[in-house]
């Protein structure tokens, strides 16, 4: 991809990841790594106290007794819910960091008692001294079961968090989330109808590599917290509210915060926006009078933090014989765990946007269960699941019509109108700010070589002894990366160095490099070596929305663009006085490492020399709020070629092609790596990842990396094409669109559709697709003479 000459640094393919050397030489200190020495505390035993939790294994239980006397007698510390002030987190259900003795246990692995000791090894001793007795109670694990008329009621008023009302038959009615046109009539008039077909997606954990960690210290009524969070400013306000202290008395940073390199995260994926661990750790710090480190072990991370919610969806699609889709009806059940609210119904139902469908009804149902703690985003708020439902049923429609699935999709694809205006969301009528279909679709179709690979519905794309191959497609269209309130600052110092301030952090996918490129571009610099990032530290940065929703590129970029304008407003008159006589400050602009007169570009001064004109550091502040009534989309197309061993059921992705309309590429190497990374997470989500509960006891069976499998290096495909289209979104910094979550979306249906093609059209409707499922598909394909 070439960079248009008008950019100074944006899109430069040679830019390397800014923080990589510190991370791969062990210099970067993540929150989970913080030792006493890192926060200026004496590095002796007792300089820092370590936290641990004792959990309940049952999905639902009464606490019969809690006895922590032995813990305290042994010289350790213990904390129960009764020691905590009453407080409810922002959730539709009251949620406490630890249960009071009168509360019921609501999910397997729920922490009940926190303990603390002087070394990490002694935490285990302390935990063993806790005596707690539970009385296991009945429980409900599945969303549809929880909404049945005779279901066990977990809450007064029912198990639906969406208001909790029931009809005269005791049934919780569905919430209509999307309705336009007349789906029932359109289905009655359709030439062909598929469905209702039941699709299911699994309960997953993020398993970001650095588990959640919080270090908390009280000094004279001020609370200092270093944690592995995605949104330091939000954590600051939560803690201030909890402990009843002014917000300014609480300082929170991502890891060590401060200047360049302090704010590192060992990935987050949506898992690091909690609050419970912060509160318990800070309370323990209050009790012990020492800084306390709450660094979760992997099994606690799996049960205490949020999880990807399991979903069930019934899909019905109507179409004409030529493949024109006329109607969609869907009913979605979302299992939001013990305390989840009515979760993300908008995001989940957004899949109707994938094609131009005139008649749509989508019913949403959320249910509280005892399956797990809390529903949370996991590299999107359910769009991956929505894409699996939609792109599976569209494939089944193509199969029923015996149509090429690419041709069917091409027929129904969204695109700009004849005047070049982007389409609008058919339900909200909000116009898209840009539309990268069909450009991304066509690019992917050609790069993958679809026309030479597709052999028809009943024929694998290749057959070689026991190895058969199939090909599959899935489209991508997510309401992702919308610009929201953006703010940040740029400070120029007389020596020419720059500090770029942002409340955002970087999960690790490349945000820090992207932020630095955006700051450099806003100031017309061709490299970022003189720029220091100051990020995610409430004592230094201002609150901007945290790093999630694929929006940090846009939020950060808009803030820096406006900060650069503010800087020029102050700096321009000083510079103009040194340029040719009569130079107007209002004509000055940043570019090519200079400040120049736009009416006469040779009338310029180097950035460095212009900085030397300043007698003191100069700070520009940028604030931007986007207009309402728009929808910002990330669109694209993904293809997978999958090989199945028909003797063993082993499946592997051989070739993967992704084209995403990313508006404008900012950090080119990072964008490519992100697409590749999303593929591996998608392979895991499609073939392996699921948290299992014992069906007879409801206890969690695999909160670890061994039994909850993620993709390994052995899953590396033979070929991966990470492509993009630059369509220039007008309400975005330099035209850029967010891709953090879109790299995962549409991977699972592309693989599932390819598996189906390999096995003569056998459908895989439940994620993950296990070896057993594939063996069943092989048996079916053999019995029906397909392979």
């Amino acid at each position: 991809m070439s960079t248009p000459a008008k950019f100074n640094i944006v899109g430069n393919p040679n830019i390397n990841r800014r923080d990589i050397t510190r991370k791969i030489t062990g210099q970067a200190v993540y929150a989970w790594d913080i030792n006493p020495a890192h926060i200026g505390v004496s590095p002796t035993v007792g300089g820092m106290v370590y936290l641990g939790v004792v959990t309940c294994p049952y999905p639902r239980a009464k606490i019969v007794s809690i006895d922590v006397s032995a813990v305290k007698e042994a010289g350790y510390w213990a904390l129960t819910g009764d020691d905590l002030p009453p407080f409810a987190f922002a959730s539709s259900r009251n949620s406490l960091p630890l249960p009071r003795s009168s509360d019921l246990i609501m999910y397997p692995g729920q922490p009940v008692v926190a303990v603390a000791a002087l070394t990490t090894d002694q935490v285990e001793n302390a935990a063993k001294l806790v005596k707690v007795e539970f009385e296991p109670l009945d429980y409900v694990l599945d969303a549809e079961d929880a909404l049945a008329p005779d279901a066990l009621q977990l809450y007064l008023g029912g198990n639906s968090p969406a208001g909790g009302f029931t009809n005269e038959n005791g049934v919780v009615p569905s919430t209509i989330t999307v309705k336009y046109g007349d789906a029932d009539t359109a289905l009655a008039n359709a030439d062909v109808v598929v469905g209702p077909i039941k699709y299911q997606t699994q309960h997953e954990q993020h398993y970001e590599f650095e588990p959640y960690a919080v270090v908390a210290q009280w000094t004279n009524g001020n609370l200092r917290v270093w944690s592995s969070n995605q949104w330091a400013h939000s954590e600051q306000s939560t803690l201030a509210a909890y402990f009843g202290v002014p917000v300014n008395n609480v300082t929170v940073s991502t890891a060590l915060g401060g200047n360049e390199g302090g704010g590192v995260l060992g990935n987050a994926l949506g898992d690091k926006i909690s609050g419970e661990l912060e509160v318990v750790t800070a309370m323990m710090a209050k009790i012990t009078g020492a800084p306390v480190k709450g660094a979760l072990p992997r099994n606690n991370q799996a049960t205490w933090m949020s999880a990807r919610f399991p979903m069930t969806c019934y899909m019905t699609l109507g179409a004409m014989n030529d493949g024109t889709i006329t109607a969609l009806k869907a009913t979605v059940y979302t299992n939001v765990g013990a305390i989840g609210g009515s979760n993300g119904s908008d995001a989940i139902s957004d899949f109707y946007n994938l094609y131009n469908i005139p008649n749509v009804t989508i019913l949403g149902n959320s249910a509280n269960t005892n399956r797990y703690h809390n529903a949370g985003p996991m590299r999107d708020v359910g769009e991956s699941q929505g894409h699996f439902f939609m792109e599976s049923v569209v494939d089944e429609l193509a199969q029923k019509l015996n149509m090429d699935p690419v041709a069917l999709r091409a027929k129904n694809l969204l695109q700009n109108d004849a005047n070049g205006n982007p389409p609008a969301d058919p339900s909200t009528k909000f116009p898209y700010t840009s539309c990268s279909q069909p450009a991304a679709f066509n690019q992917a179709v050609n790069a993958f070589g679809w026309s030479s690979q597709w052999k028809g519905w009943s024929t694998p794309s290749q057959s070689n002894g026991p190895l058969v191959r199939g090909v599959g497609i899935a489209n991508l269209n997510g309401n992702k990366g919308s610009v929201s309130l953006s703010n940040g600052q740029l400070q120029v110092n007389p020596n020419g160095s720059v500090q770029a301030f942002t409340g955002l952090t970087d999960h690790g996918a490349g945000g820090n490099t992207t932020f630095a490129i955006l700051a450099a571009e806003a100031l017309g610099l061709t490299d970022f070596s003189n720029i220091t990032l100051v990020q995610a530290d409430t004592s230094l940065t201002t609150n901007t929305i945290g790093t999630f929703g694929s929006r940090s590129t846009r939020v950060c970029g808009m803030a820096f663009i406006f900060a650069a304008k503010d800087l020029m407003r102050q700096w321009g008159p000083i510079v103009a006085a040194k340029l040719a006589p009569g130079t107007k400050a209002s004509n000055l602009a940043f570019g090519n490492n200079t400040i120049y007169d736009t009416t006469n570009p040779t009338n310029s001064i180097s950035f460095q020399a212009a900085a030397a004109l300043l007698s003191a550091p100069l700070k520009g502040s940028g604030v931007y709020s986007p207009p309402g009534g728009i929808t910002q989309r990330t669109m694209g197309t993904k293809f997978a070629e999958v090989e199945v061993n028909t003797e063993t059921g082993a499946a592997r992705v051989v070739h993967f092609t992704s084209s995403i309309g990313l508006g404008r590429v900012i950090f080119a190497k990072g964008a490519e790596s992100q697409v590749r990374g999303g593929l591996f997470m998608g392979i895991g989500e499609t073939l392996y990842q699921e948290l299992y509960l014992d069906p007879t006891t409801g206890q969690q069976l695999n909160p670890n990396f061994h039994d909850f499998r993620i993709a390994t290096i052995m899953e590396v495909p033979d070929q991966v094409d990470a492509l993009w289209i630059e369509q220039n979104d007008p309400i975005a910094p330099f035209g850029a669109v967010g891709i953090g979550e879109p790299v995962l979306m549409a991977v699972s249906p592309a693989i599932a559709n390819a598996l189906s093609n390999a096995l003569g059209g056998y459908r895989f409707r439940t994620l993950p697709i296990s070896r057993e499922d594939i063996m069943a598909g092989i048996a079916w394909a053999k019995a029906n003479g397909k392979i």
């Binding site: 001793n125 490349g510 593929l679 061994h706």
Partner: protein
């Protein structure tokens, strides 16, 4: 890097076993001892400077003093990246914790603590091992190499250098393990095939999905070490 004999660590381990055996510790007395010492440890340990980041040039204390008390602190001396470090730790202390908490070498990570993910991989005598399940006392007398050892090992330096242009790290939390596994691979196999690289790095998981870029990085490091130019 030459492999050294394991004798030193065997001595330590067997003497530990003998001491436990000679006292004929039953599970009951063991648990009793646990509870008893725990009460003391909470207070007494405050006085110890056991977790100070002592780094000395002396090489004393290569043997371990063994107490009858299974929780009694023992002084240990470890050679990490060619330098000598000392600490006083519980015999059960794992190498990963001693590196991270006692020596402040936090480059080595502990993402799972049960040898599933490989994020804690370090080299002991040139071989990649999971430090989360490797007793610190066992590592005495051996050459330990961590991701901080760039200056002590040109192969490690070449791997780290190759990692940058190949963009083989994202969040970075597994990368110290991946880099040490790659370094151990290139020590034993200077010219690995793609399948060799996959086998060599299979023991370290990565959630960001940097596998593909990592293969390129290892290939480029191998080329550079053989005097070639990386692509």
């Amino acid at each position: 890097m030459a492999r050294k004999t394991d004798n030193a660590s065997k001595t330590v381990e067997s003497s530990l076993l003998q001491s436990v055996d000679s006292k004929k510790v039953t599970r009951r007395t063991f648990l009793k001892a646990t509870a008893g010492t725990a009460a003391v440890a909470g207070v007494a340990a405050l006085a110890l400077e056991s977790t100070s980041f002592a780094q000395t040039s002396s090489s004393s204390g290569s043997t371990t003093q063994v107490s009858n008390d299974p929780f009694a602190m023992v002084p240990i001396t470890l050679t990490v990246n060619g330098q000598t470090y000392t600490a006083t730790v519980e015999p059960r202390a794992m190498l990963v914790n001693v590196l991270r908490e006692n020596f402040n070498l936090t480059g080595t990570k502990r993402p799972c603590n049960r040898q599933e993910c490989g994020g804690c991989t370090v080299m002991v005598d040139g071989r990649a091992i999971y430090s989360c399940t490797y007793l610190a006392v066992r590592a005495q007398g051996h050459q330990i190499e961590t991701v901080e050892g760039t200056k002590a090992d040109p192969v490690l330096a070449a791997v780290q250098t190759a990692w940058v242009p190949a963009d083989a790290s994202q969040c970075g939390y597994c990368q110290p393990g991946r880099i040490m596994a790659a370094t151990a691979l290139l020590h034993s196999n200077p010219n690995p095939s793609v399948d060799d690289i996959k086998a060599g790095l299979e023991g370290v998981l990565c959630r960001c999905g940097t596998y593909l870029n990592g293969i390129t990085a290892v290939q480029n490091a191998a080329t550079a070490l053989q005097g070639g130019t990386s692509s």
